[in-house]
Each structure stands twice: as C-alpha cells, then as structure tokens.
C-alpha cells in the first residue's frame, strides 16, 4: 500500500502534465479533424497563458475566472487566424502556422510589460489535479458531442474530401472556421493550465517543443478519434519519465523511437475507428452480405 502511495506521489505531477498536454493535443486535433494541419495551438496557448497570468497579477481577480477568459481569448484569436489561414492551400497553411509560432515568440519577448519579456513571469494560479481531471472530463464531453453531432459528420466529410463535401451542401470554410475556434478555445485554456502547472512562464514555454509534443500525441494516439489524442498525449508525457526511472539512457530517445514505431506499424495511430469498424460486429455478417450481393438484383 505504501509502495502504491509512493508511486502516486512520484507520478502525480506527470499525470497533471499529461492532462495539460492532452488539451494542447486536442486543440491540434480540433482542426485536424476538419482537414487542417496547423501548429497555431502554440500561439493560442501563449495568448491564453500570458493573458490569464497578467490578469491575475494586475487585477487580483479569482484565478479560476482566468480559465474561461483564456479560452475566450484563444477562440477570438483563432477566429482572426482562420480569416487569414483559410485563404491558403493546406500545405501553406501548415507553414504559415509555423511562422506564427516564430512571430509569437518575438512578440512575447518584446512586450515585457505584459509577458515579462525574456525573464518570463511567475504564475499565481495553483492548478490542482482534481481541477484538471474535471476539465479534461468536460473537454472529453465536448469532443464526444461534437463527434456525434451534425458538426462531426460535416467535419469528417470535409477532412476526407473537401470538394465532395461542398457538393453535398456542406460549407467547408464555415466548418473549418468552427474547427479553428474550437482549437483556439481549447488551446487558450491549455496554455493557461500549462502556466498554472509550471507556475512560471517565459518565451521558451510556448515554442516549438509544445508543437512537437502535441503533434506526436496526435500521431501516436490517432488523428481520427479524440480519445486517441488524449491517450497519445498522456503516453508521450509519461514515456520519458518512465524511461528515466527504468533505463535512464533511453529517456532522450524514447519519444522518438516510439513515434517512429507508430508511424511504421500503426500509421493511423493507436485508436483507429476505421480499423475497429472493420473488425467489429457490423463486419461479422460480411460473408452473408457477400452471398446476398451475388443474388441481389435491383427491381425498381
């Protein structure tokens, strides 16, 4: 029992960071599920994190109020980003989002009044594991509802074939703008939670390292279902920590090796609804269905 307690104490913070990274990965998934590869989550996170932290320091408001504020700020910013990005072809959009990360860093460094500049700033927002658990449960609920709603069908159609989706009356730009706004809200909230979990933020907090973690989480877990993204982010957060405890030499390369293995052997990630559907009960009557096909004739 004591051993279990020690394990929990040692890995409690890992779990907290796994949840925070899940938010950032979900933000990336939100746009990816509508056919857009964008790293702009880093910018939303920075906006949410610095804005929330500054709000607490400057006004002394209840830190809990900064969470919806960060989400709202991320959503507004992402809407503005969508207005520009959705004019670009998909590959240019991905490159533009990388450029946005670099621009974000320069802005963060050059407005020390708000961000603390290169020295960064401390964040008086204690984020408990219980709060994180509640928030990720809420996020899961939102993504589940999105996936089973008309938005989910429209987003999947746009991702699979934008032109065909459009010819069915689905407005791709509208769906992708909604995806951007969801990504911004989740990313802004994730940025604020990251600030709270670290208790200190600087320009280095919101940089390409986050982009790598969130993309790796999406690739590992699978970009076709939101549960895979949470699993992927959790695994990528925990892996280096566990590796350090078991084989310290393996720590630095653990993520890279796992990512390579996943891309080679499970290119659609750990959670692949298509593969599950191919195996599930609906496919059991296939033999019967094929038999029926051979004798089916249209009689109209």
């Amino acid at each position: 029992m004591q051993g279990l307690w020690d394990f929990w104490a040692a890995y409690r913070s890992t779990l907290a960071f796994a949840i925070v990274n899940s938010f950032l990965a979900l933000s990336t998934y939100a746009v990816l599920s509508a056919g857009i590869l964008s790293f702009a989550t880093v910018t939303y996170a920075a906006f949410g994190g610095f804005l929330g932290a500054r709000m607490v320091l400057a006004t002394g408001i209840d830190p809990m109020l900064t969470l919806p504020a960060a989400a709202l700020a991320g959503a507004v910013l992402s809407y503005l980003v969508a207005l520009i990005f959705l004019r670009l072809e998909s590959h240019w959009m991905a490159l533009a989002s990388l450029a946005l990360i670099l621009i974000t860093r320069v802005i963060v460094i050059n407005i020390p009044v708000v961000t603390g500049g290169v020295n960064g700033m401390s964040v008086p927002l204690p984020v408990s594991l219980e709060l994180l658990a509640v928030l990720i449960a809420l996020a899961a609920l939102v993504f589940w509802r999105l996936s089973v709603s008309w938005y989910g069908i429209a987003a999947q159609s746009v991702r699979e074939d934008t032109a065909v989706a459009s010819s069915l009356g689905i407005a791709p730009r509208k769906i992708q703008t909604i995806a951007f706004v969801i990504s911004g809200a989740v990313g802004g909230l994730g940025g604020m939670l990251l600030a709270g979990a670290l208790q200190f933020i600087s320009p280095d907090t919101y940089f390409v390292n986050i982009a790598f973690t969130m993309i790796a989480g999406v690739v590992l877990g699978g970009s076709y279902h939101w549960t895979g993204v949470i699993i992927g982010a959790a695994v990528f957060t925990a892996l280096p920590v566990i590796a350090q405890a078991i084989i310290p030499e393996f720590q630095d390369v653990a993520n890279g090796i796992v990512l390579l293995l996943i891309m080679i052997f499970l290119p659609r990630g750990l959670v692949d609804p298509r593969a599950i559907r191919l195996r599930n009960k609906f496919q059991l009557p296939v033999a019967q269905a094929i038999k029926d096909t051979s004798s089916t004739k249209l009689d109209i």
């Binding site: 509802r145 008309w150 010819s167 559907r277």
Partner: protein, 269 residues
C-alpha cells in the same frame, strides 16, 4: 411553365467557356435540360463533358457565359450553395468518404436537409434528436431505393464497386435535389448492372427528378435518355433524340473518324 408550376427548362447553359491555360476545355457551349426529363451528355474522351459537369456543380468557376437553374444564375456560386439550390452529382471515379459507413455517407448527403442547427445538434436538444432520427429514416429509405438497406452499417469501402456507385447516388439523393448529375454512372459495370442503373434513373424521373447523365454507353443513352446533347473538343456538336444524335454524321465522325478518311486510305492502297 409546365403543369407542375416549374419552368420547362430547369437548366439553361448559355455560351459557357472554361480554359485551362491555353486549352479551351469548354468553349461557347449552350444547352438546355428540360424539367422532368432524363438528358444525356455524350462525347468522345476529352470532349469536356466532366469539365461541364464541374462547371454546373460549381466545382470549377466558369470563365464566361451563364448557367441558370430555374432562372437563378449559378455560375458564380460556390459548390455548397449550388447544392442547396438543388443540384447534386456523382463522380466519374467513385468518391466516397473513407472510414464512414454506408448510412453515414447518405446522412452526410442529407446535411442540407437536416432540419436543425449545428448548435442544437451539439447540445442534443430533443428537437434536434427527433430531426436526426427523421433524417436517419430518410437515409435508410434512400438506401432501400438503391437496394442497399441491408448494407447500411457496413463500411462503404468494403462494398463492391457497383454497390459503391449506388451509395454515391443515394448520397446525392440525400440533398433532395431538383437536378441530379450522374458522371458516367455505369463506368466499369456489366450490361445487367448498367441496365439496373438505367431503370433506377427512370424511376427517379418518374418521381419528378430531372437527371443529366454523362455517358459513354451508347446503348444506355439510347434506351434511357429522352434528349441528348453531344459535344466534341469542348464545343457543341449536336442535340436531339438519342436516335437522331447517334445517326448524326458529325457525331459518327467524332466517334468513328470521318468516312472520307477511310475512303482516302482505301484509294491510297
């Protein structure tokens, strides 16, 4: 106006043109599709038939000319607006969404007729749930119409080629169109399957739908189209009844080469 109150010409294409660089894929082309008819669009490979269908459905913007659907100009409208106005289409190569079941594909087609807002659907409000159930029943009816109701919960990509083509038709019907564009619906099918598609098209016409078929299969055009337009090198070549068009010397020349060429070769020998 027809007896149904609809204009007699549902689709009017007037002097439409489309260039790709220096190549005129469609040039000064005009044609009319009558309400409640099965119209055919024929022409040899590279004649510009699919480009014309892409222009009608808004997948490509036209460079010149006008396209009217029931007197509404649509040549500048985006594809999704044209779909809402009542034009649905299928594709030369089957383009179903990967990872979706047959029923989900058809439900995606019913998106414009979902009868609820995205927000209400997200919240799962009772009204939205009822509307979704109604759409699901409608999608199943459409699948039943193309004889695929028993495949509703299978992944569409696991179906045979002919079945996938029928799913595509059911998906297009989901938008409740006034005009259905079928781009080579029988490509890769045997005679019996082609005949079944022809019967399906007739039943849709009898239900009040107007259909424009792009087709290579001369027999199918002859058997199932009320009126045919033939194009070649992006230009109008002939129109009339299927028999008239097939007998037209310019059409025969476009498909089989000029008789005079054959005579010249014979003379040289």
């Amino acid at each position: 106006m027809s007896e149904t109150g609809l204009p007699q010409s549902l689709l009017e294409i007037s002097a439409v043109g489309k260039n790709f660089g220096g190549v005129a894929a469609v040039s000064e082309l005009s044609m009319v599709v009558q309400t409640g008819s099965v119209a055919g669009l024929m022409g040899p490979n590279g004649a510009g038939k699919t480009t014309l269908v892409n222009l009608i459905s808004g997948l490509l913007p036209s460079d010149s000319g006008t396209i009217r659907l029931a007197d509404v100009e649509i040549q500048r409208s985006p594809s999704h607006v044209i779909a809402e106005l009542g034009i649905a289409r299928t594709y030369q190569n089957v383009r179903l969404f990967s990872g979706m079941t047959v029923l989900e594909q058809v439900m995606a087609g019913c998106y414009v007729r979902r009868g609820t807002s995205l927000w209400a659907s997200f919240l799962g409000l009772p009204k939205a749930r009822a509307a979704r159930k109604a759409v699901e029943s409608h999608a199943l009816e459409l699948l039943d119409r193309v004889q695929l109701a028993n495949r509703a919960h299978l992944l569409a990509e696991t179906l045979s080629y002919g079945e996938q083509r029928r799913v595509e038709i059911a998906r297009a019907l989901g938008t409740s169109p006034r005009l259905l564009l079928l781009d080579e619906p029988t490509a890769g099918m045997n005679a019996q399957e082609s005949n079944e598609i022809g019967k399906l098209v007739h039943s849709l016409r009898d239900g009040g739908l107007t259909v424009l078929i792009v087709e290579h299969n001369v027999q199918l055009v002859k058997d199932f189209c009320d009126h045919v337009t033939v194009m070649n090198f992006g230009r109008f070549l002939a129109d009339g009844t299927p028999a008239e068009c097939i007998a037209h010397p310019d059409v025969q020349a476009a498909y089989f080469g000029k008789t005079t060429d054959a005579e010249r070769i014979r003379t040289l020998r």
